[in-house]
Amino acid sequence: MSQKSLLSASLLAAARDRLDISIPVLLVLAVLFVLLPLIPGEFILVVGTEILILGLFALSFNLIHGFMGQISFGHAAFFGLGAYTTALILQPLTAAGGLGTITFLLAILAAVPVSALGALVVGYFCVRLTGIYFAMLSMAFGELIFYVVFSWYSFTKGDDGIQGLMPPPLLKSPVVYYYFTFVVVALAAALLWRITRSPFGYTLRLLRDNPARTAFLGIDVRRVMLVNFVLAGSFAGLAGALWGPFARSVSPTLLGWAQSGVPVFMSLIGGAGYFAGPLVGSIVYTGLNSYVTRFTIYWPLTIGLVILAMVLFLPGGLLSVVDGWLKAKRRGEP
Protein backbone atom coordinates (compact mmCIF):
# COMPACT_ATOMS: atom_id res chain seq x y z
CA MET A 1 0.00 0.00 0.00
CA SER A 2 1.43 3.37 -0.96
CA GLN A 3 2.00 6.15 1.53
CA LYS A 4 -0.63 8.31 -0.15
CA SER A 5 -3.45 5.81 0.05
CA LEU A 6 -2.60 5.11 3.68
CA LEU A 7 -2.93 8.78 4.45
CA SER A 8 -6.25 9.20 2.69
CA ALA A 9 -7.60 6.09 4.39
CA SER A 10 -6.77 7.49 7.79
CA LEU A 11 -8.24 10.89 6.90
CA LEU A 12 -11.40 9.16 5.78
CA ALA A 13 -11.58 7.33 9.06
CA ALA A 14 -10.99 10.60 10.87
CA ALA A 15 -13.95 12.11 9.09
CA ARG A 16 -16.04 9.11 10.05
CA ASP A 17 -14.90 9.52 13.64
CA ARG A 18 -16.13 13.09 13.66
CA LEU A 19 -19.41 12.49 11.88
CA ASP A 20 -21.43 9.91 13.76
CA ILE A 21 -24.32 8.88 11.55
CA SER A 22 -26.64 9.19 14.54
CA ILE A 23 -26.22 12.98 14.63
CA PRO A 24 -27.90 13.76 11.26
CA VAL A 25 -30.46 11.01 11.87
CA LEU A 26 -31.41 12.43 15.27
CA LEU A 27 -31.65 15.96 13.87
CA VAL A 28 -33.92 14.87 11.04
CA LEU A 29 -36.06 12.83 13.43
CA ALA A 30 -36.34 15.76 15.87
CA VAL A 31 -37.65 18.01 13.08
CA LEU A 32 -40.11 15.34 11.94
CA PHE A 33 -41.36 14.78 15.50
CA VAL A 34 -41.89 18.53 15.97
CA LEU A 35 -43.81 18.77 12.69
CA LEU A 36 -45.82 15.56 13.15
CA PRO A 37 -48.94 17.24 14.66
CA LEU A 38 -49.37 19.14 11.36
CA ILE A 39 -50.86 15.92 10.05
CA PRO A 40 -54.56 16.20 10.85
CA GLY A 41 -56.32 13.75 13.13
CA GLU A 42 -55.81 12.41 16.62
CA PHE A 43 -54.61 8.98 15.53
CA ILE A 44 -51.23 10.23 14.36
CA LEU A 45 -50.66 11.84 17.78
CA VAL A 46 -51.41 8.55 19.51
CA VAL A 47 -49.00 6.73 17.23
CA GLY A 48 -46.37 9.46 17.65
CA THR A 49 -46.60 9.39 21.45
CA GLU A 50 -46.29 5.60 21.48
CA ILE A 51 -43.27 5.75 19.15
CA LEU A 52 -41.54 8.18 21.52
CA ILE A 53 -42.28 6.26 24.73
CA LEU A 54 -41.29 2.87 23.32
CA GLY A 55 -38.35 4.55 21.55
CA LEU A 56 -36.96 5.71 24.90
CA PHE A 57 -37.58 2.21 26.28
CA ALA A 58 -35.58 0.74 23.39
CA LEU A 59 -32.79 3.34 23.71
CA SER A 60 -32.40 2.35 27.37
CA PHE A 61 -32.28 -1.32 26.39
CA ASN A 62 -29.53 -0.59 23.92
CA LEU A 63 -27.22 0.61 26.72
CA ILE A 64 -27.11 -3.07 27.67
CA HIS A 65 -27.22 -4.51 24.18
CA GLY A 66 -25.48 -2.27 21.64
CA PHE A 67 -23.02 -0.67 24.04
CA MET A 68 -22.32 -3.42 26.60
CA GLY A 69 -22.79 -6.43 24.34
CA GLN A 70 -25.36 -8.32 26.42
CA ILE A 71 -29.03 -9.07 25.75
CA SER A 72 -31.66 -8.66 28.42
CA PHE A 73 -34.94 -10.49 27.91
CA GLY A 74 -36.39 -8.99 31.04
CA HIS A 75 -36.05 -5.28 30.44
CA ALA A 76 -39.82 -4.73 30.49
CA ALA A 77 -39.77 -5.40 34.24
CA PHE A 78 -38.25 -1.96 34.76
CA PHE A 79 -40.55 -0.31 32.21
CA GLY A 80 -43.47 -1.91 34.09
CA LEU A 81 -42.18 -0.99 37.55
CA GLY A 82 -41.98 2.62 36.38
CA ALA A 83 -45.45 2.47 34.85
CA TYR A 84 -46.98 1.01 38.05
CA THR A 85 -45.16 3.44 40.33
CA THR A 86 -46.57 6.44 38.49
CA ALA A 87 -49.99 4.81 38.07
CA LEU A 88 -50.31 3.93 41.77
CA ILE A 89 -49.50 7.52 42.73
CA LEU A 90 -51.74 9.10 40.10
CA GLN A 91 -54.80 6.86 40.35
CA PRO A 92 -56.18 8.09 43.72
CA LEU A 93 -55.31 11.71 42.86
CA THR A 94 -57.01 11.49 39.48
CA ALA A 95 -60.07 9.87 41.06
CA ALA A 96 -60.26 12.68 43.61
CA GLY A 97 -60.08 15.15 40.74
CA GLY A 98 -57.29 17.29 42.11
CA LEU A 99 -54.30 16.38 39.97
CA GLY A 100 -51.95 19.32 39.52
CA THR A 101 -49.21 19.55 36.92
CA ILE A 102 -46.38 19.66 39.47
CA THR A 103 -47.72 16.61 41.31
CA PHE A 104 -48.00 14.85 37.98
CA LEU A 105 -44.37 15.61 37.10
CA LEU A 106 -43.23 14.37 40.51
CA ALA A 107 -45.22 11.16 40.00
CA ILE A 108 -43.43 10.66 36.68
CA LEU A 109 -40.03 11.25 38.27
CA ALA A 110 -40.84 8.92 41.19
CA ALA A 111 -40.73 6.00 38.74
CA VAL A 112 -37.00 6.45 38.19
CA PRO A 113 -35.69 5.51 41.68
CA VAL A 114 -38.16 2.60 41.95
CA SER A 115 -37.02 1.11 38.63
CA ALA A 116 -33.40 1.81 39.55
CA LEU A 117 -33.82 -0.13 42.79
CA GLY A 118 -35.46 -3.01 40.94
CA ALA A 119 -32.60 -3.04 38.42
CA LEU A 120 -30.07 -2.97 41.25
CA VAL A 121 -31.53 -6.13 42.80
CA VAL A 122 -31.97 -7.99 39.49
CA GLY A 123 -28.66 -6.72 38.11
CA TYR A 124 -26.77 -7.86 41.19
CA PHE A 125 -27.41 -11.44 40.07
CA CYS A 126 -27.45 -11.01 36.28
CA VAL A 127 -24.01 -9.37 35.97
CA ARG A 128 -22.42 -12.53 37.35
CA LEU A 129 -23.17 -14.08 33.97
CA THR A 130 -22.76 -13.16 30.31
CA GLY A 131 -24.21 -14.17 26.96
CA ILE A 132 -27.15 -16.54 26.90
CA TYR A 133 -26.97 -17.05 30.68
CA PHE A 134 -27.29 -13.32 31.29
CA ALA A 135 -30.24 -13.24 28.87
CA MET A 136 -32.00 -16.18 30.50
CA LEU A 137 -31.49 -14.95 34.05
CA SER A 138 -32.78 -11.48 33.15
CA MET A 139 -35.85 -13.15 31.60
CA ALA A 140 -36.41 -15.27 34.71
CA PHE A 141 -36.30 -12.20 36.95
CA GLY A 142 -38.57 -10.32 34.55
CA GLU A 143 -41.16 -13.10 34.77
CA LEU A 144 -40.77 -13.22 38.54
CA ILE A 145 -41.58 -9.52 38.83
CA PHE A 146 -44.42 -9.98 36.35
CA TYR A 147 -46.00 -12.67 38.56
CA VAL A 148 -45.62 -10.59 41.69
CA VAL A 149 -47.49 -7.72 40.02
CA PHE A 150 -49.99 -10.14 38.48
CA SER A 151 -50.75 -11.93 41.76
CA TRP A 152 -50.67 -9.13 44.32
CA TYR A 153 -54.27 -8.12 43.75
CA SER A 154 -54.74 -5.99 46.87
CA PHE A 155 -51.92 -3.69 45.82
CA THR A 156 -51.79 -3.85 42.01
CA LYS A 157 -55.35 -4.97 41.11
CA GLY A 158 -53.69 -7.95 39.39
CA ASP A 159 -54.98 -8.78 35.95
CA ASP A 160 -57.51 -5.92 36.04
CA GLY A 161 -54.69 -3.43 35.97
CA ILE A 162 -55.03 0.16 37.15
CA GLN A 163 -57.70 2.06 35.28
CA GLY A 164 -58.81 5.65 34.96
CA LEU A 165 -55.41 7.29 34.64
CA MET A 166 -55.27 10.76 33.15
CA PRO A 167 -52.74 13.51 32.58
CA PRO A 168 -53.46 16.73 34.52
CA PRO A 169 -55.83 19.23 32.82
CA LEU A 170 -52.94 21.26 31.40
CA LEU A 171 -51.49 18.24 29.53
CA LYS A 172 -54.74 16.48 28.77
CA SER A 173 -55.17 17.27 25.08
CA PRO A 174 -53.46 14.67 22.86
CA VAL A 175 -51.31 17.24 21.10
CA VAL A 176 -50.05 18.72 24.39
CA TYR A 177 -49.33 15.28 25.86
CA TYR A 178 -47.53 14.41 22.64
CA TYR A 179 -45.26 17.46 22.93
CA PHE A 180 -44.79 16.82 26.64
CA THR A 181 -43.65 13.27 25.83
CA PHE A 182 -41.42 14.62 23.08
CA VAL A 183 -39.66 16.98 25.50
CA VAL A 184 -39.16 14.31 28.18
CA VAL A 185 -37.89 11.75 25.66
CA ALA A 186 -35.65 14.31 23.95
CA LEU A 187 -34.08 15.33 27.28
CA ALA A 188 -33.59 11.68 28.29
CA ALA A 189 -32.13 10.85 24.88
CA ALA A 190 -29.74 13.80 25.14
CA LEU A 191 -28.59 12.50 28.52
CA LEU A 192 -28.18 8.99 27.10
CA TRP A 193 -26.24 10.43 24.16
CA ARG A 194 -23.90 12.20 26.55
CA ILE A 195 -23.39 9.04 28.61
CA THR A 196 -22.63 6.87 25.59
CA ARG A 197 -19.96 9.34 24.44
CA SER A 198 -18.37 9.68 27.89
CA PRO A 199 -15.41 7.72 29.26
CA PHE A 200 -18.03 5.48 30.92
CA GLY A 201 -19.62 4.91 27.51
CA TYR A 202 -16.26 3.78 26.18
CA THR A 203 -15.73 1.55 29.21
CA LEU A 204 -18.95 -0.18 28.14
CA ARG A 205 -17.57 -0.63 24.62
CA LEU A 206 -14.41 -2.19 26.10
CA LEU A 207 -16.64 -4.69 27.89
CA ARG A 208 -18.59 -5.36 24.72
CA ASP A 209 -15.52 -6.05 22.61
CA ASN A 210 -13.40 -7.97 25.09
CA PRO A 211 -14.51 -8.35 28.71
CA ALA A 212 -11.57 -10.56 29.68
CA ARG A 213 -9.03 -7.99 28.54
CA THR A 214 -10.95 -5.17 30.21
CA ALA A 215 -10.29 -6.70 33.62
CA PHE A 216 -6.54 -6.58 32.96
CA LEU A 217 -6.81 -2.83 32.37
CA GLY A 218 -7.92 -2.48 35.97
CA ILE A 219 -11.70 -2.54 35.48
CA ASP A 220 -14.04 -4.33 37.85
CA VAL A 221 -16.19 -5.76 35.07
CA ARG A 222 -19.18 -6.71 37.21
CA ARG A 223 -19.32 -3.32 38.84
CA VAL A 224 -19.42 -1.53 35.48
CA MET A 225 -22.09 -3.94 34.25
CA LEU A 226 -24.20 -3.39 37.37
CA VAL A 227 -23.99 0.40 37.17
CA ASN A 228 -25.01 0.25 33.52
CA PHE A 229 -27.84 -2.18 34.26
CA VAL A 230 -29.21 0.27 36.84
CA LEU A 231 -28.85 3.19 34.41
CA ALA A 232 -30.70 1.28 31.70
CA GLY A 233 -33.41 0.26 34.17
CA SER A 234 -33.82 3.89 35.29
CA PHE A 235 -34.40 5.17 31.78
CA ALA A 236 -36.78 2.27 31.09
CA GLY A 237 -38.67 3.30 34.24
CA LEU A 238 -38.97 6.87 32.98
CA ALA A 239 -40.39 5.59 29.69
CA GLY A 240 -42.82 3.38 31.61
CA ALA A 241 -43.94 6.33 33.73
CA LEU A 242 -45.13 8.14 30.60
CA TRP A 243 -47.21 5.12 29.53
CA GLY A 244 -50.08 5.06 32.05
CA PRO A 245 -51.34 8.62 31.57
CA PHE A 246 -51.04 8.09 27.81
CA ALA A 247 -52.83 4.72 27.63
CA ARG A 248 -55.21 5.66 30.51
CA SER A 249 -54.38 2.35 32.22
CA VAL A 250 -51.56 -0.02 33.07
CA SER A 251 -51.70 -3.82 33.23
CA PRO A 252 -49.26 -6.63 34.07
CA THR A 253 -48.56 -7.34 30.38
CA LEU A 254 -46.33 -4.23 30.46
CA LEU A 255 -43.85 -6.32 32.49
CA GLY A 256 -44.12 -9.57 30.56
CA TRP A 257 -41.66 -11.29 28.30
CA ALA A 258 -43.55 -10.21 25.17
CA GLN A 259 -43.04 -6.59 26.19
CA SER A 260 -39.36 -7.38 26.84
CA GLY A 261 -39.10 -8.54 23.25
CA VAL A 262 -40.22 -5.13 21.94
CA PRO A 263 -36.91 -3.28 22.48
CA VAL A 264 -35.02 -6.32 21.19
CA PHE A 265 -36.97 -6.17 17.92
CA MET A 266 -36.65 -2.39 17.71
CA SER A 267 -32.86 -2.51 18.14
CA LEU A 268 -32.66 -5.23 15.54
CA ILE A 269 -34.73 -3.28 13.03
CA GLY A 270 -33.01 0.09 13.46
CA GLY A 271 -29.50 -1.19 14.20
CA ALA A 272 -28.12 -1.86 17.68
CA GLY A 273 -24.71 -0.59 16.59
CA TYR A 274 -26.05 2.95 16.28
CA PHE A 275 -27.22 5.21 19.06
CA ALA A 276 -30.31 6.23 17.06
CA GLY A 277 -31.00 2.67 15.86
CA PRO A 278 -33.59 1.70 18.48
CA LEU A 279 -35.49 4.96 17.90
CA VAL A 280 -35.66 4.26 14.17
CA GLY A 281 -36.73 0.74 15.08
CA SER A 282 -39.54 2.11 17.23
CA ILE A 283 -40.83 4.19 14.31
CA VAL A 284 -40.98 1.12 12.10
CA TYR A 285 -42.25 -1.31 14.73
CA THR A 286 -44.81 0.95 16.39
CA GLY A 287 -45.85 2.53 13.11
CA LEU A 288 -46.41 -0.85 11.51
CA ASN A 289 -48.21 -2.14 14.58
CA SER A 290 -50.57 0.85 14.62
CA TYR A 291 -51.53 0.62 10.96
CA VAL A 292 -51.32 -3.11 10.30
CA THR A 293 -53.62 -3.96 13.19
CA ARG A 294 -56.32 -1.79 11.63
CA PHE A 295 -56.47 -4.06 8.63
CA THR A 296 -55.49 -7.50 9.85
CA ILE A 297 -55.37 -9.57 12.99
CA TYR A 298 -52.11 -11.12 11.79
CA TRP A 299 -49.75 -8.67 13.51
CA PRO A 300 -47.40 -11.37 14.89
CA LEU A 301 -47.09 -12.80 11.38
CA THR A 302 -46.34 -9.37 9.93
CA ILE A 303 -43.67 -8.44 12.46
CA GLY A 304 -42.29 -11.96 12.24
CA LEU A 305 -41.72 -11.53 8.51
CA VAL A 306 -40.14 -8.11 9.05
CA ILE A 307 -37.72 -9.54 11.63
CA LEU A 308 -36.94 -12.48 9.37
CA ALA A 309 -36.15 -10.14 6.48
CA MET A 310 -33.97 -7.96 8.71
CA VAL A 311 -31.94 -10.86 10.08
CA LEU A 312 -31.43 -12.38 6.64
CA PHE A 313 -30.78 -9.31 4.54
CA LEU A 314 -29.90 -6.42 6.87
CA PRO A 315 -28.29 -7.77 10.04
CA GLY A 316 -26.84 -4.32 10.80
CA GLY A 317 -30.30 -2.74 10.86
CA LEU A 318 -31.84 0.02 8.74
CA LEU A 319 -29.23 2.58 9.78
CA SER A 320 -26.46 0.41 8.36
CA VAL A 321 -27.96 1.16 4.94
CA VAL A 322 -27.80 4.91 5.54
CA ASP A 323 -24.33 4.53 7.03
CA GLY A 324 -23.04 2.57 4.03
CA TRP A 325 -24.63 5.03 1.65
CA LEU A 326 -23.04 8.05 3.38
CA LYS A 327 -19.64 6.36 3.48
CA ALA A 328 -19.80 5.47 -0.20
CA LYS A 329 -20.75 9.04 -1.00
CA ARG A 330 -17.88 10.45 1.02
CA ARG A 331 -15.45 8.04 -0.63
CA GLY A 332 -16.60 9.29 -4.04
CA GLU A 333 -15.65 12.85 -3.20
CA PRO A 334 -12.17 14.09 -4.12
Binding site: L6, A13, L217, D220
Partner: protein, 259 residues
Protein backbone atom coordinates in the same frame (compact mmCIF):
# COMPACT_ATOMS: atom_id res chain seq x y z
CA UNK B 1 7.00 5.64 32.82
CA UNK B 2 7.95 8.36 35.22
CA UNK B 3 5.44 7.16 37.78
CA UNK B 4 6.94 7.16 41.22
CA UNK B 5 4.02 6.60 43.56
CA UNK B 6 4.50 7.71 47.12
CA UNK B 7 3.72 4.71 49.22
CA UNK B 8 3.99 3.92 52.87
CA UNK B 9 5.09 0.40 52.03
CA UNK B 10 8.85 0.29 52.33
CA UNK B 11 10.31 0.07 48.86
CA UNK B 12 12.26 -3.12 48.52
CA UNK B 13 14.59 -4.20 45.79
CA UNK B 14 12.21 -7.03 44.92
CA UNK B 15 9.16 -6.11 42.86
CA UNK B 16 7.79 -9.61 42.33
CA UNK B 17 8.22 -12.75 44.37
CA UNK B 18 6.47 -16.10 44.14
CA UNK B 19 6.85 -18.82 46.75
CA UNK B 20 6.02 -22.45 46.01
CA UNK B 21 3.56 -21.46 43.30
CA UNK B 22 1.58 -24.50 42.16
CA UNK B 23 -1.37 -24.98 39.80
CA UNK B 24 -3.08 -28.17 38.63
CA UNK B 25 -5.35 -28.53 35.64
CA UNK B 26 -7.05 -31.87 36.10
CA UNK B 27 -4.21 -34.34 36.42
CA UNK B 28 -1.66 -31.99 34.93
CA UNK B 29 0.56 -29.94 37.22
CA UNK B 30 1.05 -26.91 34.96
CA UNK B 31 3.04 -24.96 37.53
CA UNK B 32 4.99 -26.92 40.12
CA UNK B 33 6.45 -25.27 43.21
CA UNK B 34 7.88 -22.24 41.43
CA UNK B 35 9.75 -19.81 43.68
CA UNK B 36 10.82 -16.91 41.55
CA UNK B 37 12.19 -13.49 42.43
CA UNK B 38 12.32 -10.45 40.19
CA UNK B 39 14.37 -7.39 41.15
CA UNK B 40 13.05 -3.88 40.59
CA UNK B 41 14.35 -2.51 37.31
CA UNK B 42 15.15 -5.96 35.91
CA UNK B 43 14.65 -7.12 32.35
CA UNK B 44 14.34 -10.86 32.31
CA UNK B 45 12.97 -13.67 30.20
CA UNK B 46 11.22 -16.91 31.02
CA UNK B 47 11.85 -19.64 28.49
CA UNK B 48 10.85 -23.24 28.10
CA UNK B 49 9.45 -25.57 25.47
CA UNK B 50 5.73 -25.58 24.63
CA UNK B 51 3.72 -26.62 27.65
CA UNK B 52 6.51 -25.71 30.06
CA UNK B 53 4.09 -23.56 32.03
CA UNK B 54 5.18 -20.07 30.97
CA UNK B 55 1.67 -18.83 30.20
CA UNK B 56 0.22 -20.47 33.31
CA UNK B 57 2.89 -18.77 35.40
CA UNK B 58 1.89 -15.39 33.93
CA UNK B 59 -1.77 -16.21 34.48
CA UNK B 60 -1.11 -16.99 38.15
CA UNK B 61 0.94 -13.87 38.73
CA UNK B 62 -1.55 -11.55 36.99
CA UNK B 63 -4.64 -13.00 38.68
CA UNK B 64 -6.11 -14.81 35.69
CA UNK B 65 -5.85 -18.07 37.62
CA UNK B 66 -5.84 -18.72 41.32
CA UNK B 67 -2.92 -20.85 42.51
CA UNK B 68 -3.62 -24.15 44.28
CA UNK B 69 -0.67 -23.52 46.55
CA UNK B 70 1.96 -20.87 47.09
CA UNK B 71 1.91 -17.08 47.14
CA UNK B 72 2.51 -14.07 44.92
CA UNK B 73 3.95 -10.89 46.40
CA UNK B 74 3.91 -7.77 44.23
CA UNK B 75 5.70 -4.64 45.41
CA UNK B 76 5.60 -5.75 49.03
CA UNK B 77 1.92 -6.68 49.00
CA UNK B 78 0.44 -10.16 49.01
CA UNK B 79 -1.70 -10.36 45.87
CA UNK B 80 -2.31 -14.12 45.89
CA UNK B 81 -5.80 -14.90 44.58
CA UNK B 82 -6.75 -11.28 43.89
CA UNK B 83 -8.82 -10.72 40.72
CA UNK B 84 -7.01 -9.33 37.63
CA UNK B 85 -8.41 -5.79 37.97
CA UNK B 86 -7.11 -5.47 41.54
CA UNK B 87 -3.64 -6.55 40.48
CA UNK B 88 -3.68 -4.29 37.41
CA UNK B 89 -4.58 -1.31 39.60
CA UNK B 90 -1.56 -2.00 41.79
CA UNK B 91 0.67 -1.39 38.78
CA UNK B 92 1.15 -4.71 37.00
CA UNK B 93 0.28 -4.68 33.30
CA UNK B 94 0.15 -7.62 31.01
CA UNK B 95 0.35 -8.00 27.23
CA UNK B 96 -1.02 -11.20 25.76
CA UNK B 97 0.54 -13.77 23.49
CA UNK B 98 -2.48 -13.83 21.19
CA UNK B 99 -3.33 -10.17 20.85
CA UNK B 100 -6.37 -9.41 22.92
CA UNK B 101 -7.59 -6.00 21.82
CA UNK B 102 -10.87 -4.18 21.30
CA UNK B 103 -11.72 -4.96 17.69
CA UNK B 104 -14.60 -2.58 17.03
CA UNK B 105 -12.82 0.45 18.47
CA UNK B 106 -10.16 2.37 16.59
CA UNK B 107 -6.53 2.22 17.72
CA UNK B 108 -6.92 5.67 19.26
CA UNK B 109 -10.10 4.66 21.10
CA UNK B 110 -8.41 1.50 22.39
CA UNK B 111 -5.50 3.34 23.94
CA UNK B 112 -7.50 6.40 25.02
CA UNK B 113 -10.06 4.26 26.85
CA UNK B 114 -7.32 2.28 28.59
CA UNK B 115 -5.62 5.50 29.72
CA UNK B 116 -8.96 6.89 30.93
CA UNK B 117 -9.53 3.75 32.97
CA UNK B 118 -6.08 4.12 34.52
CA UNK B 119 -6.79 7.78 35.32
CA UNK B 120 -9.89 6.75 37.28
CA UNK B 121 -12.34 8.04 34.68
CA UNK B 122 -14.17 4.74 34.07
CA UNK B 123 -17.22 6.11 35.87
CA UNK B 124 -17.08 9.59 34.34
CA UNK B 125 -20.54 9.82 32.72
CA UNK B 126 -20.56 13.34 31.35
CA UNK B 127 -17.19 14.37 29.92
CA UNK B 128 -16.59 14.08 26.21
CA UNK B 129 -14.41 10.98 25.96
CA UNK B 130 -12.71 12.40 22.88
CA UNK B 131 -11.11 15.12 24.99
CA UNK B 132 -9.99 13.18 28.07
CA UNK B 133 -6.38 12.02 28.62
CA UNK B 134 -5.33 12.79 25.05
CA UNK B 135 -1.78 13.87 25.95
CA UNK B 136 -0.84 10.51 27.41
CA UNK B 137 -2.71 8.67 24.65
CA UNK B 138 -0.72 10.44 21.93
CA UNK B 139 2.52 9.76 23.83
CA UNK B 140 1.82 6.04 23.90
CA UNK B 141 0.73 5.95 20.25
CA UNK B 142 3.99 7.63 19.26
CA UNK B 143 6.05 5.38 21.53
CA UNK B 144 4.50 2.24 20.01
CA UNK B 145 4.65 3.62 16.45
CA UNK B 146 0.92 3.47 16.00
CA UNK B 147 0.29 7.19 15.45
CA UNK B 148 -0.41 6.85 11.73
CA UNK B 149 -2.84 4.00 12.38
CA UNK B 150 -4.83 5.84 15.04
CA UNK B 151 -8.14 5.88 13.16
CA UNK B 152 -8.03 2.28 11.95
CA UNK B 153 -10.45 -0.11 13.69
CA UNK B 154 -8.27 -2.46 15.74
CA UNK B 155 -9.82 -5.53 14.16
CA UNK B 156 -8.48 -4.46 10.76
CA UNK B 157 -4.84 -4.12 11.84
CA UNK B 158 -2.05 -6.40 10.61
CA UNK B 159 -0.79 -9.04 13.08
CA UNK B 160 2.29 -6.96 13.83
CA UNK B 161 0.27 -3.82 14.51
CA UNK B 162 -2.11 -5.79 16.71
CA UNK B 163 0.84 -6.84 18.85
CA UNK B 164 2.00 -3.21 19.03
CA UNK B 165 -1.46 -2.22 20.20
CA UNK B 166 -1.33 -5.02 22.74
CA UNK B 167 1.83 -3.46 24.15
CA UNK B 168 0.30 0.03 23.98
CA UNK B 169 -2.69 -1.14 26.06
CA UNK B 170 -0.34 -2.59 28.66
CA UNK B 171 1.59 0.71 28.78
CA UNK B 172 -1.62 2.67 29.22
CA UNK B 173 -1.85 1.13 32.67
CA UNK B 174 1.29 3.11 33.66
CA UNK B 175 2.71 -0.05 35.18
CA UNK B 176 5.72 -0.62 37.39
CA UNK B 177 5.93 -4.20 36.20
CA UNK B 178 5.23 -5.21 32.62
CA UNK B 179 4.56 -8.85 31.76
CA UNK B 180 4.97 -9.53 28.05
CA UNK B 181 3.86 -12.89 26.75
CA UNK B 182 5.74 -13.40 23.46
CA UNK B 183 5.73 -9.71 22.53
CA UNK B 184 7.10 -10.26 19.02
CA UNK B 185 5.05 -13.31 17.96
CA UNK B 186 3.69 -12.74 14.45
CA UNK B 187 5.90 -9.72 13.84
CA UNK B 188 8.21 -9.14 10.90
CA UNK B 189 11.96 -8.89 11.56
CA UNK B 190 11.78 -5.10 11.33
CA UNK B 191 8.82 -4.93 13.73
CA UNK B 192 10.57 -7.30 16.13
CA UNK B 193 13.64 -5.06 16.13
CA UNK B 194 11.52 -1.95 16.73
CA UNK B 195 9.49 -3.55 19.48
CA UNK B 196 12.48 -4.92 21.37
CA UNK B 197 14.21 -1.53 21.04
CA UNK B 198 11.14 -0.03 22.70
CA UNK B 199 11.21 -2.69 25.42
CA UNK B 200 14.88 -1.89 26.06
CA UNK B 201 14.12 1.82 26.17
CA UNK B 202 11.18 1.38 28.57
CA UNK B 203 13.48 -0.56 30.87
CA UNK B 204 16.57 1.63 30.62
CA UNK B 205 15.16 5.16 30.29
CA UNK B 206 11.86 4.76 32.09
CA UNK B 207 12.92 2.31 34.78
CA UNK B 208 10.15 -0.13 34.01
CA UNK B 209 10.65 -3.69 35.25
CA UNK B 210 10.04 -6.16 32.44
CA UNK B 211 9.46 -9.90 32.43
CA UNK B 212 8.86 -11.57 29.09
CA UNK B 213 8.50 -14.94 27.47
CA UNK B 214 9.68 -15.51 23.94
CA UNK B 215 10.12 -18.31 21.45
CA UNK B 216 12.72 -16.47 19.41
CA UNK B 217 16.00 -17.34 21.17
CA UNK B 218 17.95 -14.53 19.52
CA UNK B 219 15.51 -12.06 21.07
CA UNK B 220 15.87 -13.74 24.46
CA UNK B 221 19.65 -13.84 24.48
CA UNK B 222 20.04 -10.31 23.10
CA UNK B 223 17.59 -8.57 25.38
CA UNK B 224 17.21 -10.41 28.69
CA UNK B 225 19.75 -9.76 31.41
CA UNK B 226 18.72 -12.93 33.21
CA UNK B 227 16.93 -16.00 31.92
CA UNK B 228 14.82 -18.50 33.81
CA UNK B 229 14.08 -21.90 32.34
CA UNK B 230 10.80 -23.68 33.06
CA UNK B 231 10.28 -27.32 32.13
CA UNK B 232 7.09 -29.28 32.82
CA UNK B 233 5.97 -26.65 35.28
CA UNK B 234 9.19 -26.67 37.28
CA UNK B 235 11.84 -23.99 37.50
CA UNK B 236 15.01 -25.66 36.27
CA UNK B 237 17.52 -22.87 36.54
CA UNK B 238 18.02 -19.15 36.41
CA UNK B 239 21.09 -17.29 35.25
CA UNK B 240 22.76 -14.88 32.89
CA UNK B 241 22.43 -15.54 29.13
CA UNK B 242 26.00 -16.84 29.09
CA UNK B 243 25.34 -19.22 31.97
CA UNK B 244 22.12 -20.50 30.44
CA UNK B 245 23.74 -20.96 27.05
CA UNK B 246 26.55 -22.99 28.58
CA UNK B 247 24.35 -25.18 30.75
CA UNK B 248 24.15 -28.82 29.70
CA UNK B 249 20.66 -29.35 31.08
CA UNK B 250 19.36 -26.46 28.98
CA UNK B 251 21.04 -27.94 25.93
CA UNK B 252 19.40 -31.31 26.46
CA UNK B 253 15.83 -30.34 27.37
CA UNK B 254 15.38 -27.22 25.38
CA UNK B 255 17.93 -26.00 22.94
CA UNK B 256 19.01 -29.49 22.02
CA UNK B 257 15.83 -30.14 20.13
CA UNK B 258 16.30 -27.09 17.95
CA UNK B 259 20.04 -26.90 17.42
Amino acid sequence: MTVTPIETVAATDTILETRGLTKDFGGLRATNDVSFTLARGAKEAIIGPNGAGKSTFFALVSGRHRPDAGSVTFDGQDVTGLPPHEIARRGMSRAFQVSSIFNRLTVLENVRSAVQVRRGRAFDFFSDARRVALDRTEEILALCRLADRRHVPAGELSQGDKKKLELALALAGEPRLLLLDEPTAGMSLEETRETMALVDDLNESHGLTILFTEHDMSVVFNHARRITLLHRGRMILSGSPAEVRANDEVQSIYLGGQA
